[in-house]
């Protein structure tokens, strides 16, 4: 109970949190405009990296951005409703190639999820194995040296 209260005290006021997000948004927008059009990096991606860097360098404290950020993340399903409904503007493409496109897109979603997951698992295994054999070799050298 008491712990909860101290946590609440630590968290920065809502307007301060909003200010930090607004400031990061503003700077990332400018940076995004400065990056050449042939290599597009969108504002949200720059913002994510920027906030991450500010957090790792301890310029911004987690308590200053945590609760407002969690609130935003919890609403993400709803925020995508307009994107979903925006397909209403593309109904013509759907009439022409809709079925094929939908099949490919659903397949692509599953492919991206599963292939990325398993490729990562493979490299995880590989890197661990290499690290282990190196450790093993080092041990051998040490034993050899002792002789």
């Amino acid at each position: 109970m008491q712990k909860k209260e101290t946590q609440k005290e630590k968290s920065a006021p809502l307007l301060v949190q909003m200010f930090i997000y607004a400031a990061i948004l503003f700077v990332s927008q400018i940076l995004s405009d400065l990056i050449p059009k042939s290599f597009p990096v969108p504002t949200p991606v720059i913002g994510l990296v920027l906030l991450y860097l500010l957090l790792t360098t301890h310029i911004v404290k987690v308590e200053w951005v945590d609760s407002f950020g969690s609130a935003l993340i919890s609403l993400i399903g709803f925020m995508f409703v307009p994107s979903g409904i925006s397909l209403a503007a593309n109904l013509k493409i759907m009439e022409q190639q809709g079925v094929q496109l939908i099949i490919v897109i659903i397949a692509a979603t599953v492919i991206l999820l599963v292939v990325t997951a398993y490729t990562t698992r493979f490299f995880s295994f590989l890197v661990n194995k290499i690290a282990k054999t190196q450790l093993h070799l080092n041990d051998h050298k040490k034993v050899g040296g002792a002789k």
């Binding site: 935003l72 919890s74 993400i76 925020m79 409703v81 979903g84 493409i93 659903i106 490729t119």
Partner: protein, 241 residues
């Protein structure tokens, strides 16, 4: 029309259909086809089609004039919400520092293999070249994927549609897919996969699975933006489209 062309209509409609979707999802005990986002998308588009029929115009016109002003207000919040993923990422900084090599290799090769498979599926289904080009960059977020598609000669609005449907599929089927392919036994891979396939929605879902998954998905959203920028033009050149 005059009364409908007010941003409040779009905001109201979005809230109404999403709340209905949530209610339906609860009532049906979580039937996967009744995921709130999917329900609200289908219902919202249906309502716009009905309004268009009623007013004798095209659905696209009703969308831009009646729904979009309000929809854009809600849409805008995706940007700060994406930035907010830096927080769960920072909280698991230990995992990032320990596994950076695996993360990079997994994403670069994962994206490349996925592109090959997506091209194969597209050919099998009989998509034309423009269609295939529009499918390649969908592992990146919409804002990266659209200009990329345009630069290799695809249809950017098809890519935007793909990115949206990616998110809807992950939102609706994420739980089943993770179970079927037993992805959760490796939190690193599960997180990266969800970020690459479902973008921001995938990251929100990954965060529900665990803090490592959430952090990895956030990494994937950032890194695929860069990886796709480099890989997609090369790949489309390689397959000679």
């Amino acid at each position: 029309m005059k009364y409908l062309a007010n941003p409040l209509f779009g905001v109201f409609l979005s809230l109404a259909v999403f709340l209905f979707g949530q209610w339906l999802f609860k009532k049906s005990n979580g039937f996967f086809l009744f995921q709130p986002l999917f329900v609200s998308m289908v219902l919202g588009i249906t309502i716009l089609i009905v309004i268009a029929k009623f007013l004798n115009t095209t659905t696209a016109q009703i969308y831009t004039q009646v729904y979009k002003p309000g929809g854009d207000i809600i849409f805008w919040f995706i940007t700060p919400a994406t930035i907010a993923f830096a927080v769960p990422l920072y909280k698991r900084n230990d995992i990032v520092k320990k596994n950076w090599l695996v993360i990079i290799l997994g994403l670069v090769f994962g994206t490349f293999i996925s592109m090959v498979l997506i091209t194969l599926v597209s050919k099998v289904v009989g998509l034309d070249n423009i269609g295939i080009k529009s499918m390649l960059s969908q592992s990146a977020t919409t804002a990266v994927a659209m200009p990329l598609t345009a630069s290799i000669g695809g249809n950017a609005s098809v890519t935007a549609m793909a990115c949206i449907i990616n998110a809807v599929v992950i939102y609706a089927l994420g739980k089943q897919l993770v179970d079927w392919f037993k992805l959760n036994s490796d939190p690193l891979g599960a997180g990266l996969g969800l970020g690459a396939s479902g973008h921001t929605i995938g990251s929100a879902f990954a965060l529900q699975l665990g803090s490592i998954q959430g952090a990895m998905a956030a990494v994937a959203v950032v890194a695929t933006a860069l990886v796709d920028n480099l890989l997609v033009p090369v790949f489309s050149h390689l397959i000679g489209l």
